[in-house]
Structures are given as structure tokens and as C-alpha cells.
């Protein structure tokens, strides 16, 4: 009976859980990009692309994107890669905009049942304004709920973000922890409280110099819980320290502390992430975390994502994941995922993934097939 209830709960929550937001792409470590902020506005990646990120998408990462013209202008006018293909020209001034949508097809199979769903996973508008080193960022969009959807803003913050030295931001954001895979259902995100709607209210202080990047945040807790007053919000502190060990090798250690809330116990996580790209077409990231609820209920999470670019803009992805320990109420999970990420042209990419997940505690297997058209305008 308990298994039945669990399976039903999983089925209901699955669609919401797979709703995706703007993706960070740590696989581009293979192209010698070790920092999120090269291509993204947010220091934790994802969301709005920077002008450089858009240009890189057009000139370099997509299969049919136009190569950089010989003796090109170093401050080119908005072109195909720009917001709405550059239709607004330079009229936006310092404002950067992006529209993101993910029409998707989801097929999932539990023992004895399966279902197909066509859904619009997200439809968001992202905006940022930069004035020298000051940065203002906001996002508003369609958030999937258990039934239907709602219009909401999951990320908005203001901060001082210099190229080097001390910076800060305050507002609502996803705190820095480990490696932020595009797939927010990765165990190192969903089971550590860092999924797509787990932004916190807080202040983040960062320091970057040379090979080192430090990000520390504190705040009253998960933003959505604070707004809904659902009793899950607790003081939250995070820290992440990244070292660029080479142009294609990165190490990061992270920690997260969440104080006891009305309905959840005190929680701590610590982890190590290591990214390595032996060639310009292969990246492998591995993150290992320990999650501590109390001394007797330590859970461990292991996630690897290995990506191979078989042709310009066509990546094959393999991701083995495991979650073990944590006591009788926390299931032991093994997941194996394979997929492809196709970047045919600026503003479009297609993600096709298959996941097989084994729940060893309750002894059943889930299979998920997900196809997404990612539009980034």
C-alpha cells in the first residue's frame, strides 16, 4: 500500500519535477571555458546569456552557425544571435533581454502504468541591466504546478559584480553549490535542495582573483517557502570555492547548511566537484556529496556527466547517478541516463534524453523519455 501511494505521488510530481529552466552548460569546459559568467549573466550560470554567450552560440557552438568573419568588428552590431534575431537593433541600450521556451514531450513508465505528456515546460522572459559593474537581473515566467501553471518570478537580484575582486548580490537566486548541470533533476541538484524552484532569498558575497572563485551566501531560506509560509523555510548558508586547475580542469568544494524549520530537520551538505576535458570535444564532470540530516542518516550522492561532441554542435551525453543512505525513509536510487544535445543554429537546441532509474528501497524501476525543443530568443 505504501508503495502504491509512493508511486502515485511520484507520478503526479514527475511532470513538475521535469519542468526545466534556463540551462547552464558546464560541458563547454572542453572549449576552455571554466566560468559561468563568460556566457551567462548570473554568476551561478543558467538564465540570461551574455552578449558574448550569444555570439559564441552563433559563431562556434551551433552546427550551422556562421563563423567569425575575417577582421570582424570587435563590438559588432546586434545580429542573428541577438534578442529576436537583432530586430530591435541597438535600441535596447544597456538592457539585455531573452525569451526562453521549452515545448516538450515526456513519456514515463512505472511498473504497471505509463503515460505520455506534451507540455510547455517553461516560458520565461529574462532581463538584465548592467551599469559598469552594477548589475540588475530579473526573470518572470510560467511555472508548472501540480495542476496547471502560474505566472511567477523565481529569480531577481541586484549586485555589484566586478571582473576581479569582491562582489555581492542580494535578492532571490539559486545559491552557488557544486556544478550546476542543465538537468535540474540530477541528483546533485534535486536531492540537495537546488532544483529549479529552490532559489533562496539572501545575500551572496563573492571574490574572484586569477584561478580562484569564492562564493558565500546567507539568507532566511527558500524563497517560495517564505512566500507561501509552508513551514519549510530555514536559515540557509552556502559556500563554494572553485580552483581552475588548468584551462580544461576545474575543482570545486561546496557546503550548504539549512537550519531546522517548522517541518524539516536541520540539513547539511558538503561536496566535491571535478571537471576535466582531456580534449576539445570531451568533458566529464563528477560530483560527490554527503548530506547530513543527523549523525545516523547520512546520504551520499554521486553524479557524473560525460559529454562528447561527435560533430560540431552535436553532443552525446551519458550520466550515471547514485544516491545511497539517508535512513529507511530515503530511497536508495540508481540512475543511468543517455541523451543527445543538438545545437543546429542560434536560438534553437534539441535535447533528447532517456533515463532508467532503479529505486532499490521500494524495488521498482522508472523509465523516462524526454524530448525538448529549447527556444532561446
Amino acid at each position: 500500500m505504501m508503495r502504491m501511494a509512493l508511486r502515485a505521488g511520484l507520478a503526479v510530481g514527475l511532470v513538475c519535477a521535469w519542468a526545466s529552466s534556463a540551462a547552464a552548460e558546464p560541458r563547454f569546459l572542453a572549449k576552455q571555458y571554466t566560468r559561468c559568467t563568460t556566457c551567462h549573466i548570473s554568476p551561478t550560470g543558467g538564465g540570461l546569456l551574455s552578449a558574448y554567450g550569444r555570439s559564441l552560440s552563433h559563431r562556434e557552438l551551433s552546427t550551422t552557425g556562421a563563423p567569425m568573419p575575417s577582421h570582424g568588428d570587435m563590438n559588432p552590431k546586434p545580429g542573428e544571435e541577438s534578442f529576436l534575431w537583432g530586430a530591435l537593433g541597438e535600441s535596447l541600450g544597456p538592457v539585455q533581454l531573452g525569451i526562453e521556451m521549452r515545448p516538450s514531450f515526456l513519456h514515463y513508465t512505472f511498473p504497471g502504468t505509463s503515460q505520455d505528456r506534451n507540455l510547455l515546460m517553461n516560458a520565461d522572459v529574462h532581463a538584465a541591466v548592467r551599469a559598469k559593474d552594477w548589475l540588475f537581473y530579473g526573470q518572470v515566467g510560467r511555472e508548472l504546478e501540480t495542476e496547471g501553471h502560474t505566472l511567477d518570478s523565481s529569480e531577481y537580484w541586484a549586485g555589484y559584480q566586478p571582473e576581479e575582486g569582491l562582489g555581492f548580490r542580494a535578492g532571490r537566486f539559486l545559491p552557488a553549490y557544486g556544478v550546476r548541470f542543465a538537468d535540474h533533476t540530477s541528483y546533485n541538484r534535486s536531492y540537495l535542495g537546488l532544483a529549479q524552484y529552490d532559489q533562496v532569498y539572501g545575500v551572496e558575497v563573492s571574490h574572484t582573483r586569477g584561478r580562484y572563485l569564492t562564493q558565500v551566501s546567507i539568507g532566511p531560506g527558500r524563497a517560495e517557502s517564505l512566500i507561501d509560509d509552508d513551514g519549510r523555510a530555514g536559515f540557509t548558508a552556502t559556500g563554494r570555492f572553485q580552483v581552475d586547475l588548468g584551462t580544461r580542469m576545474v575543482g570545486a568544494v561546496s557546503g550548504l547548511y539549512r537550519a531546522e524549520s517548522d517541518i524539516e530537520p536541520r540539513l547539511g551538505s558538503t561536496g566535491v566537484a571535478f571537471g576535466f576535458a582531456p580534449t576539445s570535444r570531451l568533458t566529464t564532470w563528477t560530483q560527490v556529496d554527503g548530506q547530513f540530516r543527523d549523525a545516523s542518516k547520512t546520504a551520499f550522492v554521486l553524479v557524473n556527466e560525460t559529454s562528447l561532441e561527435v560533430y560540431r554542435g552535436i553532443w552525446l551525453v551519458v550520466t550515471p547517478q547514485a544516491r545511497v543512505g539517508g535512513g529507511a525513509t530515503v530511497p536508495d536510487l540508481l540512475r543511468f541516463g543517455v541523451g543527445t544535445v543538438i545545437l543546429p543554429r542560434t536560438h534553437f537546441d534539441v535535447n533528447v534524453n532517456y533515463y532508467r532509474e532503479r529505486n532499490r528501497t521500494f524495488d521498482f524501476t522508472t523509465q523516462i523519455f524526454l524530448a525538448q525543443l529549447h527556444l532561446y530568443l
Partner: protein
């Protein structure tokens, strides 16, 4: 007798002089040959730190040249190490195009399409120094010639020599425009590492 002795004396002196002169004439090229190295293989790596954090490498295997110990100044090497900058590769076209065309301006021809390291002075006897040492040299890049200095590690196996040298390069010193593209740039100082093997 005296005349005979004198004649023999002069004959001996002449022979010795001739022998010494011959020996000196012969020994110069022998010495030069024994302390001249031709680069047989090499790689240049330029580490470029980004303004937004992180860094990337530009590489080329087009390293050539010939160096010779200067018999008059043992710490000096004559000759040069040259690198074809048109082949410098960062792994992606966007960076390659910017680096070669907009900043190194390799299309401008002589003085721009190659980087040349010359007038090398090592700490120690250039013909025999082994292990870690330091050096100074003159670098020609972007049509500008400036002194540079750095570290080197030299390993010798028989007549073969392997060298790994590194030195910082300040881009403004060489008149290279500030590399910036849509908010992302390369910092003013890059780090050059050159590795090469040479044989006599």
C-alpha cells in the same frame, strides 16, 4: 753555424706558427659545430587569462630555429627561435580569428606573422648549463622588439638538448590592442611557454 741555427730556429718558429694558425683555423668551425643546435621539434603555449575569470591556451607546433653558443661570451646564444603565429590555435575559430587577425595582426607581414626570440642570455655557460636557470632575451612580436626574461629548464642527453622556457609578455608593451569582445577580454599579461628539442 749560427746562421744554420738561426735558420732552424726561424723554421721551427714558422712551423709552430703555421701549426697554431692551422689549428686555430680548424678549431673555430669544429667548436662552432659542436655548440650549435637546430630545433627539431617544439611547441609554443600561450596562456591567456580572461577578464571574467578562467583562461585559455593558444598552441602551435610551428617552432623552428637554430641556436649557437657564442664562444666570446659563454652565456650568450646567437641565432633565434621563431614561431609561426598564423598557426596559433585556441581550439575555437572565434578566438583564433580575433587573436590572429585583430590583435597579432599576422596579415601585416614581416615582423607580425612570426614571433622571434633572439639575443638569448642564460645564467651560466650556454653550452653546458643543465637544469633550472634563468634567461633574458629579445622578443619580436607584433612588429615590436622588446626585452623579456623568464625561467628555463634544460636537459641534455648526449648531443640532444631539451628546453622548456617560460616568460610573461605584457601585451601593451608590444603595442597589441586591448583584447576585448562583447564584454569578455584577455588580461594585459599573458604567459608564454616554449618547449623544444634540438640536436647538433
Amino acid at each position: 753555424m749560427g746562421s744554420h741555427f738561426q735558420h732552424r730556429h726561424y723554421a721551427l718558429a714558422g712551423a709552430l706558427t703555421l701549426a697554431l694558425a692551422t689549428a686555430s683555423v680548424v678549431s673555430v668551425p669544429v667548436g662552432a659545430q659542436s655548440a650549435t643546435w637546430r630545433i627539431t621539434s617544439g611547441e609554443l603555449i600561450v596562456l591567456c587569462p580572461l577578464t571574467v575569470g578562467g583562461s585559455f591556451e593558444a598552441r602551435t607546433g610551428s617552432v623552428s630555429g637554430q641556436l649557437a653558443a657564442d664562444s666570446a661570451q659563454p652565456s650568450h646564444l646567437t641565432g633565434e627561435i621563431a614561431v609561426d603565429l598564423k598557426t596559433l590555435d585556441t581550439g575555437i575559430g572565434l578566438r583564433n580569428t580575433h587573436m590572429r587577425e585583430n590583435y597579432l595582426e599576422v596579415g601585416k607581414g614581416e615582423g607580425f606573422e612570426r614571433a622571434v626570440l633572439s639575443e638569448i642570455v642564460v645564467k651560466g655557460d650556454a653550452a653546458t648549463v643543465t637544469g633550472a636557470t634563468t634567461f633574458t632575451a629579445t622578443l619580436l612580436v607584433h612588429g615590436t622588439r622588446k626585452p623579456v626574461s623568464g625561467q628555463a629548464r634544460i636537459a641534455r642527453t648526449g648531443a640532444d638538448v631539451r628546453v622548456e622556457a617560460s616568460f610573461p609578455v605584457s601585451l601593451p608593451d608590444f603595442g597589441i590592442p586591448e583584447p576585448r569582445y562583447l564584454g569578455v577580454g584577455v588580461r594585459d599579461q599573458v604567459h608564454v611557454k616554449v618547449k623544444f628539442g634540438s640536436a647538433r
